[in-house]
Amino acid sequence: MENNVLLEIKDLVVEFHTDDSIVHAVNNVNITIHESQTLGLVGETGAGKTTIARTILGILPRPQGKVRQGEIIFEGENILAMNESRLRRLRGNKIAMIFQDPMTALNPIERVGDQIAEAISLHNKVTNAEAALRAMDMLEMVGIPRERFGEFPHQFSGGMKQRVVIAMALACRPRLLLADEPTTALDVTIQAQVLEMMRDLKNKLNTSVLLITHDLGVVASICDSVAVIYAGEIVEYGTVFHVYDNPGHPYTRGLFGSLPELDTDKTRLKPIKGLMPDPTNLPEGCKFCDRCDYAFDRCFKDSPPVVEIEPGHVVRCFLAGKEGE
């Protein structure tokens, strides 16, 4: 990793307080994103992926969402210590986010071009004409003819809408793009088009991307590194080659075992037994202990350490690096 660190999340703990319980959404997460790196954050529903992205942007639901501890250092400054007006200048400008559902991210009664232009003029001192011109450039960049500037969202198909959303997010040339399941709502052939476009753009614009997804295939096709999150904890982190070739955590292995693959003939999948623990009542030791085939006494009592099993590839497990399983 010769590049500079762009974003560093240190010991982040986020909780949601409801009437009679506390949801432990994010527990001691450490993530580092370097400049022009694409990090995939993989996990299942309720693992805390989106909460991390929202915390970075400072848009946790209030008053339920609370940051218990930790720091988020972006370009050398702690985001969590910033006031609202500083945050607003950061949002959409240096850090942008794409949401899963393109249908709700666009204002249905405003022309798409105007929506992009608005994002530009909000953070830059430009005339309306300049903003419109740049908005057209952005549209072209994501593969939409500039002539469609004046159309309304309902005149676009799902894939096209997601392109507009991406154009809007990239309009201010953000340093960091948070993409929350950007292709999940799309059909496979359209997903392939959007992923290809994102790959091109990422190289062209040098933007760092935090890609949140549940799809290990999407991560493999677009990310440099991957962090696997389970019940609010990062259980494995490394480059895609390291993690995919040599998954170290039983959960990561379980995920791969659960996938039906095209190239191999599996007669039966090997699912992970059981369910994700209730986030209001997490197990004491390793969060995965109830579902783990290799669990032993200690897993139920103590939280496992983070072990580096090869350079830059860390696993949160007692058994990590100890061969013989």
Binding site: E44, A220, S221, F241
Partner: protein
Amino acid sequence: MPALLEVKDLKKYFKTSNGFLHAVDGVNFTLDEGKTLGVVGESGCGKSTLGRTILHLIDSTGGKIYFEGKDVTDPSRRQLSELRRKMQIIFQDPFSSINPRMSVSETIMEPLQLRGGLRKQEIVERTKELMATVGLAERFWRTYPHELDGGRRQRIGIARALALNPKFIVCDEPVSALDVSIQAQILNLMLDLQEQRGLTYMFVTHDLSVVKYISDDILVMYLGQVVEKAESDELFRMTLHPYSKALLSAIPEPNPHSQRKLISIKGEITSPINPKPGCRFMARCPYVADRCKEPQILEEVMPNHFVACCRCREINDI
């Protein structure tokens, strides 16, 4: 032995203000007992409508449906009642497919109660059995669906479908709303049930890797028509139709070393309303020629391998 299900030239058009939407347009297939037919395609290809039309949840516009050798295209009220005991459906969305006001046991019991002729005690016993079969603990008896996760809800849906001991089940994207680890649990459950009960599945999905795992035969659909039909292994070994190829190559592989080339297809699905007579994939196909403007016939290009593409042989050097 006749096939369990045979569908001939099945059509379903919906009337819209702009004309007829050809949701299912001339689909043919046969399905033997105990087998699984995978129906693959992207949203709007008519795969869900096909399943619902076969189950008579929607009336067909044309064509014939034969079940156990009998013509059931226009069933009488009594015939329909009987058919619905033998044909069932499992839905995609485990959140909207279960009545939130009914407890787990009430939902599973309902088909048994509606059938009549069973004593209360028998119904309770059968419900307990069904819950055990799909892996729902008895402590969920009085639980309401909003307290359960997607996987368990999907198990309720499966138990409800099994309650009347059907022979044939349409599975409409039953795992696509679930997380991978849960998806694998449900897929395995469905395979176990098939082995134990000799069930016949029509498995509708957009996910080619899932369909490969579970199906014996596969139909690839595009805009209401079957573009390719073959045995599962054969289809993945020799993908012949340009659309199937593109679909297959578009799946992101969970392998960072993957060398597979993406066959990018241009544009997006065209409108299914009043389609032109030619090949419906024409506008996006990299191999388009003049002949594609004529209607395409599903042709047996190789033994038991059907393709609806006039240029299939040249493209694939057969």
